[in-house]
Symmetry: C2
Subunit: 378 residues, 2 copies
């Protein structure tokens, strides 16, 4: 279980297969986000048609609603949301820090108030693991502390706490059918990142996550941190870059040896009428699209682009039809999933380095902000 | 074109086939409502999977947004919304009377204000037909005036105006690939209904609609009017009962010789967390469903019932996930479409009269209010 084999490389980019209880994951892989046990506005059948393999769900949200014990009693997340392929849950840490109304961190854990009803709750590394064991995802995350990268002193403390919590998570884990990934932190400080990567690499985990990026730092800082971290990690474990990203981010990170991605960007953009396209992001609310008979992206093979005109999509948006969000989510998610699938093939072909420049041109204008999973809820 | 052949009868119930440019319609048929050129929250692919054949769209809404000329220029409704099977449009009359902010009726037409932006507009019989010709549905409706059934004097005037308008619609129609249905009015007065049915029956139309029912009258009044009207209509034309209805309404009306139905009820109930079931309507928001592992309806073959537990659906509702509306719409629409398909088979078998009582028991508790298409927009 959880064997990771690298089938091909091109420069530092890797194409591999990660074995999970719900089937093999071909990497690199992009995971749609199903925050509350649902990829927003899409049925699992539609998500499957996109070619998605891995789906992410959020521990913080599911702990609050409907509760991890309820999901356990109804057969676990796969049965509950009827997703037959692999699922990954985060630890809840990031959302506690970004969403909850107030929080108090100590060395043992975090006490926080629910963003839903203000009620008080407490997460510890052990509780995070027990929640994730109740949820039953294939890949689970150690409880970590995400710091303000510009506060170096705090970033060091948070990193050290993250390391101690990772050990406690590992010690408290009881299910053998879940892969626990520990998380590298360290802000934008190369020394801290190197130290964190070395520490996390020594733990006995089947994979490693890279946290604390795409949280406000510059692209150059993110790239520099990825360079430091991936070079300090063992090549034989899959690497998951949490909450990233844009098409450009994916290309940049795959080129630095990252294997697993998730991001709310495609579905969040869809709710804001925005679509990936070779001409940059299109805001389909614009009046200029009213009589546009073309699909969003003539090179895209998704249901939306195979079927509907920009004019129809604009009508749905203007008329307030929720179907617009569904159709744009299908397109945006398929765009990234297809890009990553093509990237994977190019690694086998040995053409990734060459094609990367062309892809970056194709996707330029879709670059702007990436987004982590936290503010995804609305 | 537009031939109607009755293949079997059982009592007054009829099973037929109505030929349209977009394929034959097997009757009785229930049409999902796609008010704004979209069945709310569902892709055309999902609507097709429900076994839907006919879809209704609303002239009033599409005239206002995105405009009938735009839809014409983008290839007509079938191309615009990518629905490959037959489409029916109403005349806009009912919505002008029920939705627009103010209206002034004269013998020539109606001047009204848009419910969207308050702008002024005017519909005449000729304009209603030209809009519907621009939209390009297979079945279109004559412009009619729907009156308060309790005001007999006004009901008579409105009926007479409806008759004159029907003649003008017929005279102004120019496309040969659209079937114009004229509409029987007359409130809840048997004499007026008989007079209206006789008048409308004499017009050269391939089908006849029955309007002004399910607008607040009692079930007994509706049944009495259906008895009067259907007995005064020629047997060889399809009969469309506008805006009806509940499972019971369908069974009652098929038994009285009605062939075509539409209603917003299934999708509107879905948006209010309500689902048809053999135990009566379920409000899936109720806490009692939180741990319910059963499907909504164990006898239903829809995607939702084949796939998800009531507990999961309740979670989606409580968490505010729009997917809940999609999944409940699938179930509610499939319930009615499947019921009507079974009714059709029973007419061939000669078992309709016998099975009707059992169906009424199965669907009792789903009886409450029916709903016309007007207030569907939200």
């Amino acid at each position: 279980m959880f064997e990771f084999s690298i089938a091909a490389t091109d420069g530092r980019a890797r194409a591999g297969v990660f074995a999970t209880p719900h089937g093999p994951l071909a990497t690199p892989v992009f995971a749609p986000v199903g925050t509350q046990a649902a990829v927003k506005t899409l049925t699992p059948a539609q998500v499957g048609e996109l070619g998605a393999s891995l789906v992410l769900a959020n521990t913080y949200h599911l702990y609050l609603r409907p509760g991890d014990y309820l999901i356990r009693d109804l057969g676990g997340l796969h049965e509950f949301m009827q997703w037959p392929a692999p699922i990954l849950t985060d630890s809840g840490g990031f959302q506690v820090f970004s969403l909850s109304k107030s929080r108090k961190i100590d060395d043992d854990g975090v006490t926080f108030k629910s963003h839903v009803d203000g009620s008080s709750h407490r997460f510890t590394p052990e509780r995070s693991i027990s929640i994730q064991e109740n949820l039953g995802a294939d890949v689970i995350m150690a409880f970590d502390e995400c710091s303000d990268p510009n506060d170096r002193a705090y970033t060091r403390l948070a990193m050290q706490r993250t390391h101690r919590w990772a050990e406690r998570c590992l010690a408290s884990k009881s299910r053998s059918d879940q892969a626990l990934f520990a998380i590298v932190q360290g802000g934008v400080d190369p020394e801290l990142r190197r130290e964190s990567a070395a520490f996390i690499a020594r733990l006995d985990t089947p994979g490693i996550a890279i946290g604390g990026l795409s949280v406000g730092e510059t692209k150059e800082e993110m790239h520099a941190m990825l360079d430091v971290v991936t070079q300090a990690l063992p090549p034989g474990k899959p690497r998951y870059l949490m909450g990233v990203g844009t098409p450009e981010d994916l290309l940049d990170a795959v080129g630095r040896g990252v294997d697993i991605f998730d991001c709310v960007l495609p579905t969040r953009l869809a709710r804001h009428h925005s679509a990936f396209s070779p001409d940059g992001r299109l805001n389909l609310m614009n009046a200029g699209f009213a009589r546009d008979e073309r699909p969003i992206d003539g090179t895209c093979d998704c249901y939306t682009c195979r079927t509907f005109s920009r004019g129809y999509l604009r009508h749905l948006i203007v008329a307030g039809e929720l179907l617009a969000g569904t159709l744009l989510s299908i397109h945006n998610l398929r765009s990234l999933i297809r890009l990553v699938a093509e990237v994977r093939l190019s690694i086998f072909d040995g053409t990734f380095q060459d094609r990367r420049a062309a892809w970056l041109v194709h996707w330029q204008g879709n670059a702007q902000k990436s987004g982590r999973t936290a503010p995804a809820i609305r």
